[in-house]
Symmetry: C2
Subunit: 196 residues, 2 copies
Amino acid sequence: MQFRELMVQNRTRRKFDESRPVDIQILVDLVELTRFIPSGKNMQPLKYIAVADKVQCDAIFPLLGWAGYLKDWKGPADGERPTGYIVVMLDRNLADTPGCDHGIASQSIMLGAVEKGLGGCIIGTVNRKKLSRMLDLSENFDILLVLALGVPAQDVVVESLPSDGSIQYWSGNDGKHHVPKRGLDDLLVGCYPEKK
Amino acid sequence: MQFRELMVQNRTRRKFDESRPVDIQILVDLVELTRFIPSGKNMQPLKYIAVADKVQCDAIFPLLGWAGYLKDWKGPADGERPTGYIVVMLDRNLADTPGCDHGIASQSIMLGAVEKGLGGCIIGTVNRKKLSRMLDLSENFDILLVLALGVPAQDVVVESLPSDGSIQYWSGNDGKHHVPKRGLDDLLVGCYPEKK
């Protein structure tokens, strides 16, 4: 697959086919990918926990915040929930800050997941205190993000921003999730030499 | 190319073949890729400037810090310098913080660059004041990172950490750049169910 195609297919997914669980070995392979990411000062301060166990997944799910712009939707229903998680942590014994390494790592994992037929959501709204306790984390681990993964069960459509410029995503009557994204001319504010 | 192969090929590069300049259209295409990245709250607060013009590249180069661990090396020599740059900025009119979006964006651009036969370096040590002035940035733009790009001219070898656990990269007498990376067992601190 061409890389651009992988980027386009890598949409944030919040509904999954729970009847098709994620294999733990795939999650392990996705963590292994992060061996090869660039890291500020090559510190490599990120650590990971992979979860595909049903009981653990059920315990993690209520500790996550889902889709802030969908006020009437509390997250995926039973049967549509993630079947795997990768918890991304900073090991404070290695560095005081992750810089943007967790963005680099999460995007790498998500792109790798898409190639395997999975999809997911990078979640920053996490009950870190409860999740730390549940995972029995030692004090040097700070939870940065939780990556929710599974076999996607909803189409996602990328579209241009509406005339009012809103970046809020929305669920359509077509059952699809619609996501406004800025165009290239909005992102690229300078170009030397000028683009044609 | 399989995604893991792309991840392995995507090594930080600091020496380039300056006789093979980067086409500005490739940099524009790499910025276009970032339309498709996930963004916290879908804010999409990042903006970009692409530079392939030789005069501008020469002006940007001295504003960057190179390879902190190589004390006797001040950066690539004339003839080995980057021939393109992408400046990654936060537009503070859109968000107060980038979260880790700049990590997501930079990794996406770098992976896209590798597919096109390029390579580069995500640089955080930047003389932001001078670069802002040079690029005549308005006040709402904060420079986050500079991505230096070109046709790679040095082999990079990933290896295990040495026995003393040092993560400092080094230049070998073989002309190659050696980068110690932690192993999977070091990164994955929990796995449910246990991996085989």
